[in-house]
């Protein structure tokens, strides 16, 4: 068995899921007309908010990651793990957490009120950007932190002993190499944002392309327009991807961020301020989510447990799928494969779901495959992240042990079993944790396919919200948060225990 052929199959599957579903939607469409002025306004808004959100996320992540890279303090490992939490939180839960801090009745406004100041108003462009930074700052920080830790400590010592400027000599080239990739990923995540933009956007000015797609599919049943808009989204993705790939490629977002390079440069107080500010910004809203949910735990309906089990099942299947796809893609680096690894980020979940529906409906009852399709789409959405985590680790294992393995005739499955999988334990654990948590929290396409009585936990949470039961919904949100974080922790931890370096 060659290890390159499965990579091609995986790339083909991802292309089929992203572009193929789009084609299916277009094929089913009755073409009524092109894009209207409102659609173009949505495209402009989407681009602007995604650019600003990505720039701010990456820009703020630089000092935070640098501070984390050079300061050791108790609780650092826990903080780094918790920093991943906003990213895996269901959007509505996270937004409610943000509002508990930055809303009109939030902590900040309360504090202002004690000084007789009016509450802050975050609804509008600022609110959208704030939420996107909340979601993506941790991701950017992790990617950059990885870059910092990839610089061998000897180089810092060398620079120090020479009295050379560490920043210009070592850090800036690393940031230049890492930041564009981080920017690209976050830009793409913000590009397909829907609920955040709408809830915090303050009105129709904050219409994103994804909302326009939603409207086209749900209300107008104008599949042609939906396909066109999805194509525009892919076009924007391709454009930004081309630019970012030209500038540099990221090193990945790997696990194993425990190491701290002891350094004497920088102002400790300033670093502490950056870490403290980032921790407050990210953790206080999470605290609010926990606080709001605790009371609701007693109100949870019995059906929530079955839904939780179902969600766990979906998350595990999605994780296995995502890891398989990402691994075979990582084993076969190349332009086509990296494109396949990015495209899912730009795909509109609604178009993917609708396309799959169109494709599957002639053969199988949608309700029967609801959970399977949900797992598949969740896996697809996790692949870009997993590839980015695994590819550098594969490259490193090959660089270090490739010749030894060649000399011993380790090929195909044997090479995977004896060399790669053991060497990839940590990044595999981290990537699997991320994939599982993302799948757990994603409402996904289940709403399109749902049959009788097959609610997942996020869907159950939305149903509670939709029937006035906001306390129980907050409880379900907390349960979801706990399960997501728990899954992430288990996988991430599992990858580290007993992994020989």
């Amino acid at each position: 068995m060659s290890l390159t052929r499965p990579g091609l199959w995986a790339a083909a599957l991802l292309l089929a899921l992203s572009l193929g579903t789009l084609a299916a939607v277009a094929w089913r469409a009755e073409w009524a007309g092109g894009l209207g002025a409102a659609d173009w306004a949505a495209i402009r808004f989407t681009l602007t908010q995604a650019l600003v959100s990505a720039a701010l996320s990456v820009g703020l992540a630089v000092p935070v990651a640098r501070a984390l890279a050079r300061r050791a303090f108790p609780g650092r490992a826990v903080l780094v793990t918790l920093l991943g939490a906003p990213f895996i939180l269901p959007v509505v839960v996270a937004v409610m957490g943000l509002l508990a801090v930055f809303g009109r009745r939030g902590l900040v406004s309360d504090a202002l009120a004690t000084f007789g100041l009016p509450p802050i108003d975050i609804y509008g462009f600022e609110g959208v950007v704030l939420a996107h930074v909340f979601f993506n700052l941790p991701l950017a920080t992790r990617m950059l932190l990885q870059g910092w830790l990839a610089i061998p400590s000897e180089r810092f010592r060398l620079a120090e002993s020479l009295g050379a400027p560490v920043g210009r000599l070592l850090e800036w080239p690393m940031v230049r190499a890492t930041a564009p990739g981080a920017f690209l990923v976050i830009f793409l995540i913000c590009l397909s944002s829907f609920a955040v933009a709408l809830i915090l956007g303050g009105g129709p000015r904050a219409t994103t392309v994804e909302l326009a797609i939603y409207q086209a599919v749900r209300f107008d049943f104008d599949l042609g327009r939906a396909a066109l808009l999805a194509l525009v989204q892919f076009g924007l993705c391709a454009l930004v991807a081309a630019v970012a790939f030209r500038v540099a490629l990221p090193d990945g977002l790997g696990g194993g961020l425990d190491r701290v390079v002891r350094r004497r440069d920088g102002v400790p107080l300033l670093d502490a301020a950056w870490i403290g500010a980032a921790a407050l910004f990210l953790l206080v809203p999470l605290g609010a989510v926990v606080l709001a949910g605790v009371a609701g735990l007693v109100d949870l309906p019995g059906s929530i447990w079955a839904a939780s089990l179902r969600s766990l099942g979906v998350a595990l299947v999605a994780t296995a799928l995502a890891m398989t796809l990402a691994l075979v893609l990582a084993l076969r680096p190349g332009a086509g494969v990296s494109l396949a690894g990015v495209l899912p980020l730009a795909a509109s979940p609604l178009v993917v779901g609708t396309g799959l529906f169109v494709l599957l409906y002639p053969f199988v009852s949608p309700g029967r495959v609801a959970l399977a399709v949900t797992a598949l789409v969740n896996a697809m959405m996790a692949v870009p992240f997993a590839v980015r985590i695994l590819a550098p680790a594969v490259a490193q294992a090959e660089a270090t042990y490739g010749r030894l393995a060649d000399g011993l005739g380790l090929a195909g499955w044997q090479r995977l079993r004896l060399l790669l999988l053991p060497r990839l334990r940590r990044p595999l654990g981290f990537a699997a944790g991320l994939a599982a948590a993302l799948s757990m929290g994603d409402l996904g396409v289940i709403t399109l396919f749902a049959g009788s009585d097959k609610a997942t936990l996020p869907l159950e949470m939305y149903r509670l919200m939709g029937s006035y039961r906001s306390d129980a919904a907050a409880g379900a949100g907390l349960l979801l948060f706990g399960l997501s974080l728990g899954l992430f922790w288990l996988f991430d931890r599992g990858g580290r225990i007993g992994a020989d370096t």
Binding site: R28, A38, A41, V92, V95, M96, L99, A100, G103, R104, R105, Y123, G127, F194, A195, L198, I199, G201, G202, G203, P204, R205, L211, Q215, V217, R218, F219, F221, P301, G302, L309, G313, L316, T354, F357, V358, Y361, S365, P366, G367, R368, V369, L371, A372, T447, L448, A450, G451, S452, D453, A455, Y462, R463, M465, G466, S467, Y468, R469, S470, A473
Partner: protein, 323 residues
């Protein structure tokens, strides 16, 4: 292997048996706290069949799923389309006349041989009782009150609100929306998010239903929520059920349509769906519904007109709020 089998079992639902009536409906109808279980139990007791609910998002998502499936749909009954969606639903040609005669307790005349009302409600702004209530949209526009509303492009209440202003103000709708622009805190994708913002205290009021305070009063024993009565009248939401023409269970489907108008269905609605039943059951409405705001004027575009007005009304809304 056992885990694989369990997962496979989770993925594949048990196939429907021959005597199964498949009902497509919206999400909040089916959970254990919704109307679904009680309705199903009552009908199953009488028909000796089985009901299978398929939940497909909200009312709009329900319709788009049906359009995707076309004539091959497995649905026998579609329950939960909103009156504003009826024209588009009719266009699909998927539905058959219901043939049910019933004495509806609706504030407007409803005479449709295909789409049968099963419940209804007035759209209204809901606020805390100690908030000073404006008497109409213009007073609201002049006040400092903040409101959370839903997007008419993704939510049926959002669309209801836009049609409400359109019908109440016609040519002046744009001007009213411009006045309201600074009151609109934000626009959410669906009812749930807006209501959540209101409960969190982010907005002074939220677009919901006159029946919403009944939930808080009955289920939570909390009398602090009220609906504002507007003197220009309140727009109605009528939710309808229809029979699919190509059903493989025509008799069961017909029986179910007749069952909808009976007490077995109608008495479940008020305290599970928190709407008015289309036919008031013999025991009357539950306590708590009596104290609700009773609008003097009921507004509603007939389905065909709603479909025609919709696009312009949304454009008016968007232009006014996008400034």
């Amino acid at each position: 292997m056992r885990t694989t089998a369990t997962i496979a079992g989770l993925m594949l639902a048990t196939t429907a048996s021959a005597e199964t009536l498949t009902i497509y409906t919206y999400d909040s109808f089916v959970p254990e706290w919704g109307p679904g279980p009680a309705v199903a139990a009552a009908f199953e007791a009488q028909c000796g069949c089985e009901i299978e609910f398929v939940a497909a998002g909200d009312g709009a998502a329900l319709l788009s799923r049906l359009r995707l499936e076309g004539a091959r749909t497995e649905a026998d009954i579609v329950l939960g389309l909103d009156s504003n969606l009826v024209a588009q639903a009719r266009e699909t040609g998927l539905f058959a006349p219901h043939g049910v005669e019933a004495d509806f307790d609706l504030p407007v005349a409803w005479d449709d041989d295909t789409f049968l009302p099963f419940d209804w409600g007035y759209f209204a702004f809901v606020s805390s009782a100690d908030t000073e209530a404006p008497a109409n949209f213009r007073e609201l526009a002049e006040s400092d009150l903040s409101i959370a509303i839903q997007d008419p492009r993704s939510s049926t209440p959002g669309l209801g609100l836009v049609l409400w202003v359109e019908q109440a103000y016609g040519e002046e709708a744009g001007e009213v929306w411009q006045g309201l622009a600074d009151n609109v805190l934000t626009v959410t994708p669906g009812w749930s998010e807006a209501y959540g913002l209101f409960l969190e205290g982010e907005a002074d009021a939220v677009l919901s239903y006159t029946t919403s305070p009944a939930y808080h009063a009955i289920a939570e024993e909390d009398d602090s929520k009220v609906a504002w009565a507007f003197d220009e009248g309140h727009y109605l939401q009528i939710e309808v059920v229809a029979m699919v023409e190509g059903t493989d269970q025509p008799e069961l489907a017909q029986d179910f349509m007749a069952f909808v108008a009976t007490d077995g269905f109608q008495s479940v609605i008020p305290t599970t769906n928190w709407m008015y039943p289309a036919v008031t059951p013999a025991e009357g409405l539950p306590e708590g519904f009596g104290e609700l705001v009773q609008p003097e004027t009921a507004l509603l575009y007939p389905p065909q007109e709603a479909a025609e007005v919709r696009e312009d009304a949304i454009a008016t809304w968007r232009d006014a709020l996008a400034q």
